[in-house]
Symmetry: C2
DNA sequence: CTAATTTCTGACCGTGCGGCCAGAAAACAG
DNA sequence: CTGTTTTCTGGCCGCACGGTCAGAAATTAG
């Protein structure tokens, strides 16, 4: 159960990534409201039926887009973060690598934000369960707890701080889409300084 | 030009606020994707034609929802903020009053977020121009500049700080929708402490 | 009261949607 | 090569959408 044992064929993989990319690009450019299967297929240069052939439906496609971007982000960030040793450095590495990922894939991130906050699946309800976003915050919560125990962070609510960090990062993609001239490297350094000050133990 | 001189009738005002409220409730509950004119009208207990009679179209209605919530928020927050004298206190008042407004109108705020980040008007494009969100950030930018000049804030990029504050606040409504048990008053105090530490001049 | 105006209903368009499928085309296996 | 499986096309279906309208109902004015 879970994953079927059979591997995906070469073509299957290629088409899926191609269509996922086209979906992300369409959403980022024209908005989730304009991202119909027809438009996505057209941008991918294939007929509409191909999308239905490779994905179970639109809900499935939207989920795969989010998953692909999330996994690629995790893959890009994890090694950078794990290279840092202290909680303080890991927080900085988290911020820098996350902003760098946004800078490298602005469309993908914009698309994810639109899907997560604006897409409602066929039968109503939400695409992701109420606990799914907590998974992302959990890593930060753990990081903050660790830093508080070893005394490098002051005494704050780790959950509030985690959500604030996420909010600070999630706000970047839409802003960058409207103002591409922003220097995201400098932006990342500002965030590092900001959250360094926000978490640092008070120098009584 | 601008506003037509003629006043709105009593019924007109009542219906408009009623429909705006129904739209916000529908969006907050079922998602923007499920918020059709038919469903909004049904929740308001009127026929679909009434919506078209009182609003120029769906785009107009969405805009009015955002505008109404924004204006009500400004009206609730402004006096509280202006009562504070120092930049530091004004920042705290901003955070507290904004969180309090979210706590009092969680549906409305959730609806606004979904519209702003997920609604695409009829002909493509975006509902709000690329500069519209800057207006909201501008107040904070001015506040930070002021505090930096009088020496109560450290030397950070006011724009980055402003967007981080906005991100911290905007993240609350969706989170509160999924976890209504959160104590938003405590949350606000955490944010006050967080941004107080983030903006405070380093005690060398 | 009647007449004029505002407000509302419910049915009705045209459109584009997501999904489906029969058969063509391509890739593959023997 | 032939037969089989995978992949793709283009058109079709039913549906729900946003928007419109003629006429009914309610409100207001004289």
């Amino acid at each position: 159960m879970g994953q079927p044992a059979e591997e995906l064929s070469f073509i299957e993989r290629a088409r899926r990534t191609q269509i996922i990319g086209a979906a992300a690009a369409t959403i980022a450019e024209d908005g989730i409201g304009q991202a119909s299967l027809a438009r996505i297929a057209k941008r991918a240069g294939v007929s509409k039926g191909v999308v239905s052939y490779h994905f179970a439906g639109k809900d499935d496609l939207m989920k795969q887009v989010v998953l692909a971007v999330y996994e690629a982000g995790a893959a890009a960030m994890t090694p950078v973060i794990q290279a840092a040793t202290t909680p303080r450095d890991r927080l900085a590495a988290y911020l820098r690598s996350n902003v760098a990922y946004i800078a490298a894939n602005p469309e993908a991130l914009q698309a994810v934000i639109e899907i997560v906050s604006g897409y409602s699946p066929e039968g109503g309800g939400r695409l992701f369960a109420p606990g799914d976003d907590e998974v992302i915050a959990d890593f930060l919560v753990g990081l903050f707890r660790e830093g508080q125990q070893d005394g490098s962070f002051r005494d704050f609510d780790p959950l509030v701080m985690a959500h604030t960090v996420r909010g600070a990062i999630d706000v970047i993609a839409p802003r960058h889409a409207r103002h591409p001239e922003i220097d995201l490297e400098a932006y990342a350094e500002e965030l590092v300084a900001l959250f360094d000050a926000a978490t640092r133990r008070e120098s009584s």
